[in-house]
Amino acid sequence: MSAPDEDNSSDHTQLASHFFGELLDSVIMDVASECHRIARLGLDRNLDDEEEELRLSAQARAKVADPSNSEANSKYVVDIFGQTHPAVANEIFDCMNCGRSIVAGRFAPHLEKCMGKGRKARVKSTRSSTAAAQNR
């Protein structure tokens, strides 16, 4: 036979359990109701499509990471037009700031100094700024 205190605590425990159960049921029902509405009204995202996307993505990464896959990892030989290009672009044109002939691949560093932007640059006296404007 249990003492009165123990009886009370087991009653309390039972009561607490009971209320917790009620709350839990209510919360579960809330979620179920929301999901049911979303599904029934067609507001849910197409999970099949999403899964398919994830599968394609995983497949793609595996394929690309495969060392035997030459296509993804090879250096360029020719581009689709059959052309080949050097590491530093070798087209030559005139700088629109100072008029000098510059190699394309070195145009940016040249322009920086030419415009006086770099640390060690002096502004090059432009052959004429009007000449540059006319060339536009």
Partner: protein
């Protein structure tokens, strides 16, 4: 909203016989909590009890015909069902804790637009949003004036759609292997300018931009004569566009463009690697500024019609909700792109398949969009002033897209700047992205609808003339490290991917693009093949008992 909602027979029978009387009655008893949940409460002083057992536990239902209350317990005792047996025909009831219709004959939750409308109206009133202003504004943001609230006829932003809009693929240009699409041409690297080349490739192939320049809409002669500026990025792009689409395949050097850009953006001009996104934003700004100066656009109508804004401009909506009273304050901000934080909560493959312990899951672009539109609880140090409570309260903020642009540029924030450590780092994590993207879950009407419990209701902006379906056409990737990396663009032309690595143009498979480390993704709207017609999207609150127009309810929608 893709609903072909067929009501169950019992619900239609009920409506036929009783009309909207029951709904109107229920509407009076709808109560709203600050978090937006609705419940049916008849009396303020008494708790609801089951008429059979006087119990107050479990689920309680109120009959739509006789308003009697009955309970259903998880133990199995179902007085609500009993009620339908004793009162023949009383099959439809309302779950009072959730304001949802239940059909006891079908034993399922059912849905009805008129019922939802009734609940919605009370819900909106209950949140205290009776406010003519509705839209908070400050100097920087557009003042939109009167917010039309729930009326679906009220269109705030009437978009003037430019010519050559998105979805205009190169139809009928199924070409043989030996003949490649026009407009495919390499760009020479002028010295650490891959950031510029990658953005140019994407820009030149954005359908509205491409079409604008190819149809000669920017007249260089007129531009030179009318403008006092020596430099015009639009003129330079016009030249590059002509060159790229000329059929000449030798790599082109965008030197003049670089020069013009440096002259126009003094603070960014230097010979070192730049951030492609920053460059992109800067270019859009310069083009827009130039257009504004020359056209003297009247600022009043709000919409800018310069080529970049017509292509990229969208509208973001920001809702700040008071956690104490539920009042929501809404602001709108224009945007030309969306910057997304990485969502570290990854998508897992379906729960049916067993998870390996090493499986970290894949981060996806859509989960980043989810994160962007997720309600964010602002910290207690960021309390915002609530108009309804008249004091600073803790708030929840939620972003959504009010108006989608024609060309959607999504920026993945891979470069993290830590103020604490005073260092930056790059997030190398792979991000999955779809080739076809449906933006429906992220638009304002969807987000707001969700906040109101996904009720069947025509929210403002539902019937948009724009599609929410997008198709990718360009991806800018970054490989390497923060300080010394390399940008490349993948272009999708005629469903074939091409890799544009400065001067080198090569064909690649879908997998290569999927596996790449995306930084900027460009989507264009798929054109609507047919106009939405006939669907009942108009809502005029017919079931409202007071007959109010609700035009004054602002700030909730």
């Amino acid at each position: 909203m893709s609903t072909t909602l067929n009501p169950c027979n019992h619900l239609s029978d009920y409506k036929q016989r009783y009309g909207l009387k029951g709904f109107n009655l229920i509407q009076k008893w709808v109560k709203t909590s600050p978090c937006g949940k609705t419940l049916i409460s008849r009396s303020k002083s008494e708790i609801p009890r089951c008429s059979f057992c006087c119990g107050y536990e479990g689920r309680l239902y109120i009959c739509l015909i006789c308003s009697s209350m009955s309970c259903s317990l998880s133990s199995g005792s179902n007085h609500a069902l009993l009620h339908t047996k004793t009162q023949i025909g009383h099959e439809i009831a309302v779950d009072i804790q959730r304001s949802e219709l239940y059909c006891f004959a079908c034993d399922d939750q059912v849905y009805d637009p008129d019922f939802d409308r009734a609940v919605m109206c009370e819900q909106v009133l209950g949140l205290g949003n009776v406010n003519l202003e509705g839209v908070r504004s400050n100097n920087k943001r557009k003042r939109l004036g009167f917010e039309g609230g729930l009326s679906s006829d009220f269109k705030i932003m009437k978009r003037v759609v430019g010519s050559g809009v998105g979805g205009d693929w190169d139809h009928g240009r199924r070409l043989s292997k030996s003949c490649f699409p026009v407009g495919l041409r390499g760009l020479n690297n002028l010295g650490n300018t891959c950031f510029m080349n990658s953005v140019l490739q994407a820009l030149l192939h954005a359908p509205p931009i491409r079409n604008y320049f190819l149809s000669g809409r920017h007249d260089r002669d007129t531009c030179r004569k009318t403008s006092s500026d020596r430099f015009c990025l639009s003129c330079d792009i016009d030249i590059i566009c002509s060159a790229v689409f000329s059929g000449d395949r030798a790599p082109y050097s965008p030197a003049q463009f670089l020069y013009s850009w440096w002259r126009l953006s003094e603070n960014l001009a230097c010979y070192e690697q730049q951030d492609a996104h920053e460059f992109f934003m800067s270019v859009l700004d310069r083009i827009h500024e130039k257009e504004e100066k020359t056209k003297n656009t009247n600022k009043d109508n709000g919409d800018c019609h310069c080529v970049v804004h017509r292509a990229f401009s969208g509208l973001l909506r920001s809702d700040v909700t008071c956690t104490t009273c539920g009042f929501t304050s809404t602001t709108y901000d224009p945007c030309v792109d969306i910057s997304l934080d990485f969502n570290t909560n990854v998508d897992h493959i379906s729960p049916n398949k067993p998870q390996k312990s090493t499986d970290l899951g894949i981060s996806t672009l859509t989960s980043c969009l989810d994160l962007f539109t997720r309600p964010e609880k602002l910290g207690s140090d960021q309390k915002l002033y609530c108009q309804s409570c008249q004091q600073r309260q803790e708030s929840v903020k939620q972003m959504s897209i009010k108006k989608l642009p024609l060309v959607l540029c999504l920026h993945v924030k891979r470069f993290e700047h830590s103020l604490v450590r005073k260092a930056s780092r790059k997030i190398d994590r792979h991000l999955q992205f779809p080739f076809s993207l449906d933006m429906t879950p992220y638009v304002s009407s969807s987000i707001v609808r969700k906040r109101f419990g996904n009720r069947i209701f025509a929210f403002e902006g539902d019937e948009s003339e724009f599609s929410t379906n997008f198709e990718v056409f360009a991806v800018i990737t970054h490989s390497g490290m923060l300080e010394s990396g390399h940008y490349m663009t993948y272009l999708r032309l005629n469903e074939q991917w091409y890799k544009c690595d400065d001067a080198w143009i090569t064909e690649v498979d879908d997998e290569v693009v999927r596996a790449s480390q995306i930084y900027l993704v460009f989507y264009v709207q798929k054109s609507n093949s047919s106009h939405k017609s006939g669907e009942d999207v108009g809502c005029h609150l017919r079931s409202s008992p007071s007959g109010d127009s609700f035009m004054s309810i602002a700030g909730c929608c």
